[in-house]
Amino acid sequence: MQTFNLKACIPYWKCCFELTTVVPRLRRAGQLTDVCLLGSSGGETRTAARFVPSRASGAMSGGAPRSLPSSGQRPIQEICHPLSAEESARRDSSPEPQKDQSLPNGTPVDKSSPASSSSSLLNRLTLDDDFDGETRDLFVTVDDPKKHVSTMETYITYRVCTKTTRTEFDLPEYSVRRRYQDFDWLRIKLEESQPTHLIPPLPEKFVMKGVVDRFSEEFVETRRKALDKFLKRVADHPVLSFNEHFNAFLSAKDLNKRQGLALLTKMGESVKYVTGGYKLRERPVEYAAMGEYLETPTGAFTQSEFLTELREYGPVYSSWSSLEGDLHEPLEGVSGCVSRCSSSLEELTEDMSEEFLPVLKEYVLYIDSMKNVLKKRDQVQAEYETKLEAVVFREDKKTPVPTDVEKCQDRVECFNADLKADWERWQNNKRQDFRQLLTGMADKNIQYYEKVHDYTVGKLEVIVTLKGVMSTWNFCDMIATHFFSLKLPVGPEMFANIPLAKDTETQFDRACCS
C-alpha cells in the first residue's frame, strides 16, 4: 500500500472538491481505499491518500471501515470526507451513473479514466496558495437588464458573463441571458445536489404588484445587484462553484429546466434537537426580529416624504427674497443653500437605502437559508440516532453494526463538517462585508456633513457681506467671535462697504487680531 503525500499547500477547500470528484473515480478504478486529511498548520493542509492497486470495487465491505472516524467533536481537519465514500457507493448502486453526469445540453462530463500514476493526479489537483482565493479562476458578473415582451408575459432578463480558466468549462468566456426563474432553478438545483451546504440566498421572488413597480429602474437595479452577489458567492464557494448545474447555468445556451420540487420541506416539530452540537441553531431566532423590521418600508418612505417637504423649502425663500431690498441677496443665498443641502441629503438617503438595506436583507435571507439547512441536518442526525438506538437494542443479538447506520453516521459527520466550514466562511465574509458597509456608510455621512458645512459657510458669507447701512459694534463682535471659534475665514473685506463708526472700527480690528 502506497501512501501518497501531497505536501504542497493545498487548501482544505480545494481538497474537498477534488475529493468529491476525483476520489470516487479513483476508488472505482480500484486505486484508492480511503483518503484522510492529516492535520493542517498555518494554512497548509496535507492530504494523504492511500492507494491500493488491486481493490476491485469501491463498495464498502462489511466490518467497520478503518477510515471512519468516530462521531463526536474533532477538529475539522481530522475529519475525513466520508461523503466521497457515500457518493461512490451511491453511484455504484445506480444503474446509469453517466446520465447524471451529463450537462443538460448533452455534453458529456469529462470522464477520462483517472491516470494510474500519481503525476497525473498531481496535474488534476491545481495548486493554490491562497486560501481566500485571490488568484481566482472564475469570474462571474450580472449586468445589462433588458425587458422582454411576449404575448404571454413580460419579464426582465439579465446578461451573465463568465470568465474562467477552469478546465471544467469548454470555453474561457461565456455570455448568456437569464431571467429570475433561471436563478431560482439554479438555487433549487444547488440545494438538491448539495444539501449539506449553505446556499446563498436569492432576492425575494414575489413582489406585491400594487406596491412596487417590477419594471422600475430602481427595482431592476436592486435585483440585478442582488443576483450578481448571489452568483459571486456561489462562484467563490469551494464546493458549489464546481457544481454541474452551476456550470450549465453559466454556459448553456438554453437551460433545459425541470422545474424541481420546492426543496424546503416543512419539518415537523417532532425533529429531535440534539443538544450536543452546535449552538448555531439558537442564533437564527434573534435574526427574526431584524427580518421583521426590515420588511417594514418605513425607512425609505419617511425619508422620501421629508425630501418632498425640503424641496419646497428653498423656493419659498426665493419668493421672499424677491420682496426684499437689502435682504434680497442673503435670502437668495439661503434659498440656494437649502436646495443644495436637500439634494445632498437626497443622495445620502439613496445611498443608504441602495447599499445598506440590501446587505441587511441578504443576511436575513442567509439566515433563513441557514435555518433550513440546520433543520435538514437535525433531521439527518435524528435519523441516525433512531437507527443507532434500534441497533443498540439489537446489540444483544450480536449482529454486526449494519452498514446503513454507519452510512447515517457518515452523513451526519459530513453534514456537520460542511456546515461548520460554510458557517465559518460565512461569518468571515459577513464581518468583512459589514465592516466595509459600515465604514462606507460613515464615509458617506461624513461627506454629506462636509458638503452641508461648505454650503452653509458659503451662505453665511453671502449673508454677512453687508452692503448698506448698519452695523453696530455688537453685531461685528458677534460675527467675529463666532467665525473665530468656528475657524472660518473672517475678512475685513466682508465689512468693506459699511460705514462703521470710528470706535466700532477700532474695536473690530482688535477683535480680528485676537
Partner: protein, 447 residues
C-alpha cells in the same frame, strides 16, 4: 476670554468663544443691539420677564380657571453696574393684561408699527410640539416672547415714554398712589379711546375707496401682505419638514436598536455592531437639540409675521385718515355747492332740493336765509375740519413713514441676524456630525 463693553456701558456680558448660540444668548444680542440704539428708558432700567407660574382663580363669570402669570422684573441700571444688585421691583401679570396694553398702544399711537405679542395659541405646530397652552415648552417660549415685546416697546422712542406703559412695568396692584389699578386705567383709557376707536376700527374693516392714497403706503401695505403670506408659507413648510425629519431620525433610532440587539449575539462583530448601534442612537437623539434651535428660529420668523400685521394696520390707518380727509373735503365741497345753488337759485344738478322745490314750490325767503346761515356755519366748520384733518393726515404720514423706515431697518437687521444664527447653528451641527461619524468609522475599522 470675557469682555465687558465698558464703552457702551452695557450691563450684559457678551459671550465669546462659544460656538453654540443658545436662544438666551442670541436674545442677549438682540437686547444689546436694542440697548445701543436705545432709548432713555432702557438706559436707565433693565427689564425682564423672569418667570412664569400657574394660578387658579375666578374669572369674570365666576368660574374656576387656570391661567399662567408672568413675573416682570425691573431694575435700575446704575445699581447693577455698581454690583450692589438690589432686589428688583417685580409684579405678576397675565397674558390678557399684555393684550390690553398693546391694544391701548395701538389706539394711542396709530402711526407706530406696534411690536407684536407672541401668539395666543400655538400655531404651525408639528406633532412633537403640543398645542396646549399649559405645556411648559410653550409657556417658556411665550415668556421669552413677552420679554421681547416689553423690550421692543421700551426701545421705541415714542412708546417708551408712555405713562401707562411705565406703570404697566412697575406698578403693583393696590400699591399705586392714586389707588388706581393699572389694569383699570388701561381699560378705562382703552374704553374711552376705543369708543372713538371703535367707529374707526369699524371703518377700517369696511371697504372704502380712497382717492389719493400715498403711493408709498399702498406699496407698504402690499409688501406687508406679501411678507405675511411668504412667512406663513415658510413656517408651514418648515413645520411639515420638521415633522418628517423627526420621523427620519427616529427610524435611525430603530436601526440603532436592531444593531444593539444583534451585537449581543455576534462574536467577532459584536463590538463593531454595538458601536454602530450606539452611534445610531446618538444620531437619533440629536434631533431634539436641532429642532429646539429650529424652534427659536421659527419664533423669530413668527415675530415678523405678526409685525407684518402691525405694518398693514398702520397702512390701513393711513388710508382711514386719508379717507376721512377726503370725505371731509368732499362734504365741504358739496356744502359749498349747496350754498351756491341756494344763493344763485340755480339748480345745476339734480338734487332733492330741486325736486322738492318743483313739487312743493319754492321756499320762503326767510327759510332760504335760515338755510344759508346754517350752511355758512357748516361750511366754516367744514373748512376747519378739513384743515384739521389735513394737518392730522400730514402728521400721520410723517410720523408713520418715519416709523416705517425705522421698522424696515430693524427688520433687516433682525432677520439678517436670525439667518446668521441659524447658519452658525447649522455649521456647528455639521461639525458635530462629522466628529460623530469619524468616531464611528474608527470603531468600524476595528471590526
Amino acid at each position: 476670554m470675557e469682555r465687558t463693553m465698558a464703552d457702551s456701558g452695557s450691563e450684559d456680558i457678551a459671550v465669546i468663544g462659544n460656538t453654540d448660540l443658545t436662544p438666551s444668548e442670541s436674545q442677549n444680542n438682540v437686547r444689546n443691539t436694542m440697548f445701543e440704539k436705545g432709548t432713555n428708558l432702557l438706559k436707565r432700567m433693565e427689564i425682564s420677564v423672569a418667570e412664569a407660574e400657574k394660578r387658579t382663580g375666578k374669572n369674570a363669570v365666576n368660574m374656576q380657571e387656570t391661567y399662567t402669570v408672568y413675573l416682570i422684573e425691573t431694575r435700575p441700571v446704575d445699581a447693577v453696574q455698581e454690583a450692589t444688585s438690589p432686589v428688583p421691583d417685580s409684579l405678576w401679570r397675565r397674558y390678557s393684561e399684555f393684550e390690553l396694553l398693546r391694544n391701548y398702544l395701538l389706539v394711542t399711537y396709530p402711526y407706530v408699527v406696534v411690536p407684536p405679542l407672541p401668539e395666543k395659541r400655538a400655531e404651525f405646530v408639528w406633532h412633537k410640539l403640543s398645542a396646549d397652552n399649559m405645556d411648559p415648552d410653550f409657556v417658556e417660549r411665550r415668556r421669552v416672547g413677552l420679554e421681547n415685546f416689553l423690550l421692543r416697546v421700551a426701545s421705541h422712542p415714542a412708546l417708551s415714554n408712555d405713562k401707562i406703559f411705565r406703570s404697566f412695568l412697575t406698578e403693583v396692584e393696590g400699591k399705586s398712589l392714586e389707588g388706581n389699578r393699572v389694569r383699570d386705567r388701561i381699560s378705562s383709557e382703552g374704553i374711552v379711546s376705543s369708543s372713538c376707536a371703535d367707529s374707526r376700527i369699524k371703518a377700517l374693516n369696511a371697504t372704502f375707496r380712497v382717492k389719493n392714497p400715498d403711493k408709498r403706503f399702498a406699496e407698504m401695505k402690499h409688501y406687508g401682505d406679501e411678507l405675511q403670506s411668504v412667512i406663513s408659507q415658510l413656517l408651514r413648510v418648515r413645520a411639515r419638514a420638521a415633522d418628517r425629519l423627526y420621523g427620519v431620525y427616529k427610524v435611525h433610532g430603530n436601526y440603532g436598536r436592531v444593531f444593539s440587539e444583534w451585537s449581543a449575539i455576534e462574536k467577532e462583530m459584536g463590538d463593531g455592531l454595538q458601536s454602530a448601534g450606539h452611534h445610531m442612537d446618538a444620531y437619533a437623539a440629536s434631533i431634539d437639540d436641532i429642532l429646539e434651535e429650529e424652534e427659536h428660529y421659527a419664533d423669530q420668523l413668527k415675530e415678523y409675521l405678526f409685525y407684518a400685521d402691525a405694518l398693514r394696520a398702520v397702512c390701513r390707518k393711513h388710508e382711514l385718515t386719508q379717507y376721512e380727509l377726503e370725505t371731509a373735503a368732499q362734504d365741504l365741497c358739496s356744502k359749498k355747492q349747496q350754498q351756491e345753488e341756494l344763493a344763485t337759485g340755480t339748480v345745476r344738478t339734480f338734487s332733492l332740493k330741486g325736486m322738492t322745490s318743483k313739487l312743493f314750490g319754492q321756499e320762503t325767503p326767510e327759510q332760504r336765509e335760515a338755510k344759508l346761515k346754517m350752511l355758512e356755519a357748516q361750511i366754516e366748520e367744514g373748512e376747519e375740519l378739513v384743515k384739521e384733518r389735513n394737518v392730522e393726515s400730514g402728521e400721520f404720514v410723517k410720523g408713520a413713514w418715519a416709523d416705517i423706515e425705522r421698522f424696515k431697518e430693524q427688520k433687516d437687521h433682525d432677520l439678517r441676524e436670525a439667518l446668521i444664527n441659524y447658519a452658525i447653528m447649522q455649521i456647528s451641527m455639521c461639525k458635530k456630525g462629522i466628529q460623530v461619524w469619524n468616531n464611528a468609522k474608527e470603531c468600524f475599522s476595528k471590526m
